[in-house]
Structures are given as C-alpha cells and as structure tokens.
C-alpha cells in the first residue's frame, strides 16, 4: 500500500475508533467542536487521498509520511490520558495538520 494512503488511513481510523471516548472526555462545547473539526479534516484528507495515486518517491512526501508516523504515536500515547483533554486536542490538531499537508502534496 502507498505509505501516504496508509498513514492517512491509520490516522482517520484511529480517530474514528476513539472519537466517542475523546468526545466524552471533553468538558466544554468548544472542546467538542475542536475535536469534531479535526476529525472531519482527517476524514476529508483520507477521502481526497483515495482519489489519487501517491508519489511516495517524492522526498517531501516521504518526510511528511515519517512525520505522520511520529504524530500518530503521539496520539496513541495519549489514548489513555483523556483527563488531559486540552493536551489531547493539541496533539490531534498537530497530527491532522501534518495529514492535511500530506494530502495536499499528493496527486
């Protein structure tokens, strides 16, 4: 599988599987809105990428894919630390931002 598509799929699926618990951990509507916004962006990044064949040999994309891996690990490490929801939202936002950069590069 193209590593770009794989990275975006992994991010979208991880957020999908944990969306409910992350939303439950939010204490304000603003926090929920922030989570929803990042989730929808991750989903759009994924579906946009499905349309395209990725140029995995592009060094810029390879670098972003690597960065996606780091961000993904960060999110996963915070899966069980939902009491610090503000931090979790920050990490999700960073990760999805890298995903958006990756999705913009492909095609």
């Amino acid at each position: 599988m193209g590593s770009s598509l794989q990275a975006l799929e992994k991010q979208y699926m991880f957020l999908t599987q944990n969306l409910s618990s992350v939303l439950d951990a939010c204490t304000t509507q603003e926090e929920k809105d922030a989570v929803m916004k990042q989730y929808v962006t991750a989903r759009r990044n994924y579906w946009n990428s499905i349309h395209k064949i990725f140029h995995d040999d592009d060094p810029a994309i390879a670098s972003l894919v690597k960065q996606m891996g780091v961000e993904q690990k960060q999110i996963e490490s915070y899966k069980n630390k939902l009491n610090d929801i503000a931090k979790v939202i920050d990490i999700i936002t960073d990760a999805v931002t890298v995903g958006t950069a990756l999705a913009a590069k492909v095609g």
Partner: protein, 302 residues
C-alpha cells in the same frame, strides 16, 4: 491518476473490441475466452460490491452524524459521490469486458460464416451500449463503426492477431487493478472500521437487541427472546462487542482473500492472452477459473 488509467483502458478497450473477432479460433482461444468471461463477471461483482461499500459508507457517515454529531456537509457527500462515480466506471468496464467475452465465446462456437457475421453484428450492437454506459466520458470514433468492422474481421481467420489486440487491453486492466488495489483495500478497511465503531457505540448505549445472540439457545425449541434494554447484562454487552470484533475480522479476511484472488486472476488472464498472442498457444488450464473468494466476499456483503 485514476482517471488517467481509466482513460487508458477506455482507449485500448475499443481497439480490443474492434479487432477481437477472428472466426474459428482454436481450442486455446475458446478456453481463453471462457476464462475472460469468468474473470470479467467476477470483476463486475467485485467492483459492484465496492460500489455498495461506498454507498454504505455514506449511510454510516449519516448515522455517525446522528449518533455523535459529527458534521457532514455537501462537500463530504460530494467526495463520496465522486468515488462512487469512479467505481461505477469500473463496473461499466467490467460489464463491457464480460459482454465481449460472451460474444467471443458465441463466435468460437459458430460454424457457418453467417453465424459469425451475426454474432459480430451482435457484438457491434453491444459496443454501442458501452457508449451509453454511465461514466463513459467519450466515445472513440472507431467505436461508432465497430459493428461493420467487426463483421469484416469475423470473416478473417487470424487468431493470433486477435490475441495481439486483446493483449494490451488485458495488460492495462490487470495493471489498473494492481495499482488501484491499495485504494480498494483501504476503502473496505475504513468501511468496516467505521461500522464497527458505530456498532460499539450502540452497544455502549444499550441500543442493541441481543435477540440474535440468544437465538442459538432458543431456536431449537421454537422460542424467541424478550430482553428489555434495561435488562441487557454487562456480559451480554461484552458478548456483543466480541461479535462485532470477530465478525469484522472475518469480513476483512474474506475481502483480503477476494481482492488478492481477483488481482491474481487478472494477471493470469493477461499472461494467458499474451502467450496466445506471442506463441499462438495458451497455457490455460482446461477448466474455467473459479473465483470462489470473490463470490464469498460479495455474498457476505449482501
């Protein structure tokens, strides 16, 4: 890129369709045509099932909006519609290939030139249908006079030339599938992943009727369960969660097998046609390919 590859196939396919008819082919050519028909029908089933997956993905996203409040605006639905349109084009291509293969089998069974001519004319008519299929963005000029050309070709006896014409098309179709396979696989994975997440959410909210879980114990005695939502125990909920995970895994495994088998079948057919074109003989087995994994997966989705 999907579009580019799809266009490439659509360009090559008419060439195949126009020149694929040479009368009285050998047993090898007849077997190759039979394999082409089987593979094309399974390819049609495979793409049609993926088309359903995209439809269901849209339904799941609507459900996710209803359950969790995830925004879903026209842009999101348009994304899925666009993917659906791409799948539709591939279904149309697979159907066109199946029609061609059927017509070619018809030709290989013909004895009299009149029969061959009639079958060629019939194929020409089928080619006209392809032009009308959804997703066919253009119609090569050659396609429009296909029936006439086909009739002329049907009166010739150059089997190898026929295979040479089929060769690039089958190679292009097989290559398209292989290159796009990661996207197909990913679409099925995310579909199951989203469905699982929503099913688990419904279990968490105690909104799942456990009747089917209890049925194996009650059915032999003609009984059905009646469990009010407030009486669904933690253990039953856990059982439901396990079922969601295990059934999801089974679907993913069935899909992976089907997808790999479809890829292999297209490669095998492409090799078969190529050998027929280059040596005049096909390495084909005498029996038609049986794509049971594709059938099993598509049935599982129904």
């Amino acid at each position: 890129m999907w579009r580019v590859r799809y266009q490439a196939v659509k360009i090559v396919l008419p060439v195949l369709l126009i020149s694929a008819v040479s009368c009285r082919p050998s047993e090898d050519a007849r077997i190759a045509a039979t394999h082409m028909a089987t593979t094309a029908k399974d390819l049609d089933s495979y793409y049609s099932a993926l088309e359903s997956v995209v439809d269901d993905q849209a339904k799941l996203e609507r459900l996710q909006k209803a359950l969790l409040g995830v925004p879903l605006d026209p842009q999101d639905l348009s994304q899925l519609q666009s993917i659906h349109a791409e799948m539709e084009k591939r279904v149309a291509t697979a159907k066109a290939l199946a029609k061609l293969a059927d017509s070619f089998i018809e030709l290989t069974g013909s004895k009299a030139p009149a029969d061959v001519s009639q079958a060629a004319a019939s194929l020409g008519a089928k080619l006209s249908d392809i032009q009308q299929l959804p997703g066919a963005s253009y119609a090569p000029e050659a396609l429009q006079s296909a029936g006439k050309i086909l009739t002329q070709f049907a009166l010739q006896h150059d089997e190898r030339k026929m295979a040479e014409s089929i060769d690039p098309t089958m190679a292009a179709l097989s290559q398209m599938f292989t290159q796009e396979k990661p996207a197909y696989d990913s679409m099925n994975t995310t579909y199951i992943g989203l469905a699982q997440s929503l099913a688990l959410e419904l279990v968490k909210r105690n909104q799942v009727d456990p009747e089917n879980l209890l049925a194996p114990a009650l059915k032999p005695f003609g009984l059905t369960s009646h469990v009010p939502p407030q009486q669904v125990t933690q253990q039953l909920q856990e059982y439901a969660r396990e079922q969601i995970q295990s059934e999801g895994k089974q679907e993913l495994a069935a899909y992976a097998k089907a997808s790999a088998e479809m890829d292999d079948a297209l490669k095998e057919l492409s090799t078969e046609i190529h050998q027929l074109a280059t040596t005049g003989h096909s390495p084909a087995k005498k029996t038609a390919l049986k794509l049971s994994a594709v059938e099993l997966w598509t049935k599982q989705l129904q």
